[in-house]
């Protein structure tokens, strides 16, 4: 029960139910999604990290935009919100507070990753 509560804090249960429902029967869709999401988000976090260090707002905007979409797709609403904030910083070419937002993003990403792992062990 505690596990489920942890998951619910990071991943929207309604979205998870919807994704489970999409499975064509072999029960692997959610696991595949989690795997692809973690790999893809990992790449976006790397380019965000580099782009913030180099002060490249366009790359920040693009990488954050991608992360915003992929995290909302998986029901990671909080992660999506932080990514949206970083995206707007990139669009405004105002990366002053981008480092703080990035730190928040990585912390939240780690929580989501733990939640996704818990999800798979539950299944």
């Amino acid at each position: 029960v505690n596990d489920d509560d942890d998951v619910a804090a990071e991943l929207d249960p309604e979205r998870l139910a919807l994704l489970r429902d999409l499975d064509d029967g072999d029960g692997t869709l959610l696991a595949t999604l989690a795997e692809e999401f973690v790999a893809g988000a990992g790449r976006q976090l790397e380019s965000l990290h580099a782009a913030i260090a180099e002060g490249d707002p366009q790359v920040v905007e693009r990488a954050a935009h991608n992360l915003k979409g992929s995290s909302s797709n998986l029901g990671a609403a909080r992660l999506s919100e932080i990514a949206a904030h970083l995206e707007s910083l990139g669009r405004a070419r105002a990366l002053g507070s981008a480092g703080d937002a990035f730190a928040e993003l990585t912390t939240e990403f780690d929580r989501v990753r733990v939640a996704l792992a818990a999800l798979e062990s539950v299944q």
Binding site: D21, L22, D24, L33, F37, N66, K68, G69, S70, N73
Partner: protein
């Protein structure tokens, strides 16, 4: 019920997977592309019914992809749906102006996809029906309803392309105008129903007797025109003479004809001369002139435009 072919473009793998699962769950076919360039390539290869495209992606972005899809020249229509994040109102408007039909808000729900595909099915079916009707009407507009032969519109289009090909490849072509002898007297004697039947029989014969590369058209009331591709004038006269004999051998009674006791045709033949100023119109004029000479010489004969090709005996 036919399935829709849906092309999904998103640079994020997990987003692509979810959208594909939603589309295939509805029983439709789903292709996926990872960026705008890949999408454009697949679009040209597969011509999907529906395109669901992300806004921001590597390569072509969403609006540019919309514009390219809308600029395609063939008759097909692709229903374009733009996938945007919540609140990106300016993106939605820009995308719709670039040619999108509708939009989806991320995270995309199966319900929204289903609703959009219902509209997409209706709209793309309508475009397919329009395309079919357009092609039926285009054929009808170029066909003579009585004889089933091509009419003057088809003739002029075909003559233009035949002429262009002759100029480009140094080939020649001939035209033969065939006019039924004393057709007014035929109608006056046997009635217009019999006249129509005679026209249809002569048309059928011309179509059946012409070589496969040659084409017969209804040129006017009782006038037919045959185009003969890449033939010399003597060969064209020979081919046309076969047509004239075949009409005579139909043996359609024509008691008041001044040429024979059966229905006959007079023919004038002319050939494009390779001269720059010679156009399909001047070739037709020369064929018409030769036709008058056939009439003046007693009808039921083939006359070519040049001296040296004697009119055939009637």
């Amino acid at each position: 019920v036919s399935r829709l072919r849906v092309l999904v473009v998103d640079d994020d793998t997990s987003c692509r997977l979810v959208l594909k699962a939603m589309v295939t769950k509805l029983g439709d076919e789903c292709l996926v592309a990872a960026d705008g360039d890949d999408a454009w390539r697949q679009f040209q290869e597969t011509q999907p019914d529906v395109l669901i495209t992300d806004w921001m992606m590597p390569g072509l972005d969403g609006p540019e992809l919309c514009r390219r899809v809308r600029d395609r020249a063939d008759g097909g229509y692709t229903y374009v749906i733009l996938a945007t994040a919540l609140g990106e109102h300016e993106h939605v408007i820009e995308g719709m102006e670039a040619g999108a039909d509708d939009y989806l808000t991320k995270p995309i729900s199966p319900f929204d996809v289903r609703a959009r595909l219902v509209a997409a099915k209706r709209v793309t079916d309508l475009y397919k029906e329009l395309d079919r009707l357009r092609s039926v009407l285009a054929t009808q507009a170029r066909t003579d309803p009585l004889t089933g032969l091509g009419n003057r519109l088809r003739l002029h289009e075909d003559l233009e392309s035949m002429h262009d090909a002759a100029v480009r490849y140094g080939l020649g072509y001939c035209v033969a105008i065939c006019d039924i002898d004393d057709f007014k007297l035929f109608n006056d004697t046997y009635g217009h129903v019999a006249g129509d039947a005679a026209l249809a029989r002569v048309a059928q014969l011309l179509a059946d007797t012409s070589r496969s590369s040659d084409t017969a058209y209804r040129y006017g009331g009782e006038e037919f025109l045959v185009t003969l591709v890449s033939q010399t004038l003597p060969d064209a006269v020979l081919a046309t003479e076969r047509l004239r004999v075949a009409v005579e051998e139909l043996g359609i009674e024509h008691a008041r004809s001044r040429a024979s006791d059966v229905l006959t045709v007079s023919v004038g033949v002319a050939r494009w001369t390779h001269e720059q100023l010679d156009t399909p119109t001047t070739v037709l004029e020369r064929a018409d002139h030769a036709l008058y000479r056939s009439k003046a010489a007693g009808r039921n004969r083939v006359t070519s435009e040049e001296p040296g090709h004697a009119p055939t005996p009637g």
